[in-house]
Amino acid sequence: MKISNRFIILLLLPASVMYLVFFLIPTFQALLYSLYDWSGFGAAPQFIGLANFNELLNDRVFWRSMGNTVGILIVGGIVIFGLAFVMTMMLSSGIRGKKFFRGVIFLPNIIAVIALTTLWGYMYTPRTGLFAAVFDAVGLTDLARFPWLGPDTIFMAMMIAIVWIEVGFYVVLLLAGVDKIPPDFYESAKLDGATDFQQFRFITVPLLSDVISIGMVLWSIHALKVFEFPFSFTGLEPNPGSYTVAVYLYILGFGQRQPIYRLGYATAVGVMLLLVVILVVLILRRVTRRETYQY
């Protein structure tokens, strides 16, 4: 039975309308608002052309936030994918209790972020935290008092927690891809004398290229707009030194505890973030483009 084009269009229509109303129109409106000086309330918006973007160029807090965000993207990405590959290989090596370990690794993804920030905050607390207790127990009292959330190490401390939370998702993603690779490939490789690393390098990685590509795009988008963890990890009010772009956008537009309310400028920050996301995704698509393997 041939399905008519009209019927297909009819089926697509509701989703398309919703996409148009709730995504495309607001996106274009945001582009427009970024050209205005507007509090988001009260007085009418004032058209100021590209002045918001010009101001962004000299905005130290914005560039510091962008630096933090890119740091999470790159450092976090390398560590997460490195660990995810190692865990995937271990879990797909025929280990007993694979489903249990997969579940445990994925667990942080289903826990509320606020609970996780509280947990990690406790672990890092000098003197009374979990790490401090461990260091105290082995006689490393200086390390037990070390301020892990001090200015020199807070970014690293936050990265460790973010990696711990996120890695499970990418392990599950990669595992799903690995499970689809026919075992014959590995058996043949073993018969030919291939080492575990050679099997990984010449079978697993090429056959997972699509999954890796999608995973990297997903991580990039997620990392560039990361908000909840940095926002709630640093206490009542995030320290401007640990803002990400998304946190800075929120502070500027919606105020949190400070009544800044510069929605036009915040929207310009959002537009810049959108441009960076598009740029990173395009670069990733180009870098990871390769011939697809049918198996």
Binding site: P126, R127, P147, T234, P259
Partner: protein, 434 residues
């Protein structure tokens, strides 16, 4: 005959008046109140009881409360700008309202209402308030906010610890440093603090400059378009004293790693002796402190050569605001008048352990020292000496990052001053004041 006619006319007028009165009294009014509290918080429960008692004495008025939590003002703004939601009343930190809805012209002036008698006193309602509370956020002689909860910023400590080591409350900066030595010798971390909390760190900058230059000076410096006011020797002095707290061992080095509430927990656990923070601290720590904990509070000490005094009080108020577009301003204010009655205000301090703005109410005993300070205040200043409400973006992008950097020893006091001068001048060039 004439007399009978007169009686008939008078009776008719009386019946008609009563009739109108009844009709008016029964005309239903619904007030929409969006709250900064979560429904289960102690303050919310007192408000719920206040609403119930107000509704019982005003049966034609219903108050529809929405418990939004601390993001209230942001949600109110969004709802009002949506155009379909009528919100008659809202509450929030007074500093935040001043910099938000009030500045944007959405607050109803309350002067005429405040001149009317209080619900339970014969004097005008405005005379029921503690000194310098109603006026803190007035603009052009108009009062737009009704403060109902009063927090003071002071050093909070366990009296037992001070007694144990033989310490009197520090009156001067030198006393404070000496107290640090005594407490250190006794094995206590003298001052608890959060390492990474801009608002809490800035309590020190605010208090140091208030004592050195007097209230209002920090606000003027922040607004100086040239940035040159930051070159005043008092700023370098304040920055050096900030570092002194760390370098002299008043604040232990591991504090750098404390993220709220880890610093204040050290006070509750008995490892630290005091903390400069709002009078909400005893409430926040009530489940963490042992039952024998004896709360005391004292104002930031005087500094030799400074013009500020300890009766200058750092006051963080929570206030109500009536939407200027409300259809029921009289009823809305009647509810606020009800909130200011002795009974309701007493309930706030008894049940929620908070300070209140009604001068006749003794605050809960655990914050008695905050009440003493508030009652004796010769002047009050708001968050970061008013910078938080007037120049919030400047605070977040210039003052906070640099002061936190100084706080964490990322820059020296001299660098702090120079950076403030140059960044402030640049900021005000990019953001000319209207």
């Amino acid at each position: 005959m004439k007399k009978a006619l007169l009686i008939t006319v008078l009776a008719s007028v009386l019946v008609m008046a009563l009739g109108f009165g009844l009709v008016n009294a029964q005309e239903p009014v619904t007030l929409v109140y969006w709250s900064m509290w979560n429904e289960t918080e102690g303050q919310a429960r007192v408000l719920q009881e206040a609403i119930a008692s107000f509704e019982s004495t005003n049966p034609n008025i219903t108050i529809d409360a929405v418990w939004n939590g601390r993001q209230n003002q942001t949600l109110v703004r969004t709802a009002i700008s949506g155009g379909n939601q009528v919100i008659d009343l809202m509450d929030q930190d007074a500093d935040q309202i001043a910099g938000g809805l009030m500045r944007e012209g959405f607050a109803l002036p309350l002067n005429d209402y405040l001149a009317q008698p209080a619900e339970d006193h014969e004097e005008p309602l405005m005379d029921v308030f503690l000194p310098n509370t109603l006026e803190m956020f007035s603009h052009d002689g108009q009062i737009y906010q009704l403060p109902y909860i009063y927090n003071t910023v002071q050093f909070w400590y366990d009296k037992r610890v001070f007694e144990e080591v033989g310490l009197a409350v520090p009156q001067t900066w030198d006393d404070l440093l000496a107290a640090c030595d005594t407490l250190n010798a006794a094995g206590y971390a003298p001052i608890a603090a959060e390492g990474n909390e801009p608002g809490y760190a800035a309590f020190y900058l605010t208090e140091l400059l208030a004592r050195l230059k007097g209230p209002g000076w920090l606000q003027q410096a922040a607004a100086d378009p040239t940035g040159e006011m930051w070159r005043d020797p008092a700023v370098l002095d304040a920055a050096q004293r900030t570092r002194m707290l760390w370098d002299n061992g008043c604040i232990p080095p591991e504090t750098l790693g404390y993220v709220w509430p880890q610093g204040q927990n050290t006070l509750a656990f008995g490892t630290a002796a005091m903390e400069l923070v709002g009078s909400w601290l005893p409430v926040e720590l009530q489940n963490a402190t042992d039952p024998e904990f004896q709360w005391g509070g004292y104002s930031f000490p005087m500094i030799e050569g400074g013009v500020g005094v300890t009766s200058d009080v750092y006051a963080l108020l929570l206030a109500f605001m009536i939407n200027k577009d409300t259809a029921h301003p009289d009823e809305a204010f009647a509810f606020l008048r009800h909130l200011m009655t002795d009974a309701i205000q007493q309930q706030f301090t008894d049940a929620s352990l908070v300070g209140v703005t009604n001068k006749y109410i003794q605050w809960n005993s655990i914050i008695a020292d905050a009440f003493a300070a508030a009652s004796a205040a010769t002047s009050t200043y708001g968050d970061v000496d008013g910078v938080a409400s007037l120049y919030s973006e400047y605070l977040n992008t210039i003052l906070y990052p640099n002061y936190v950097s100084l706080w964490q020893a990322g820059i020296t006091p001299e660098e702090f001053v120079e950076t403030l001068v140059t960044q402030s001048a640049q900021y005000w060039t990019d953001h000319p004041q209207s």
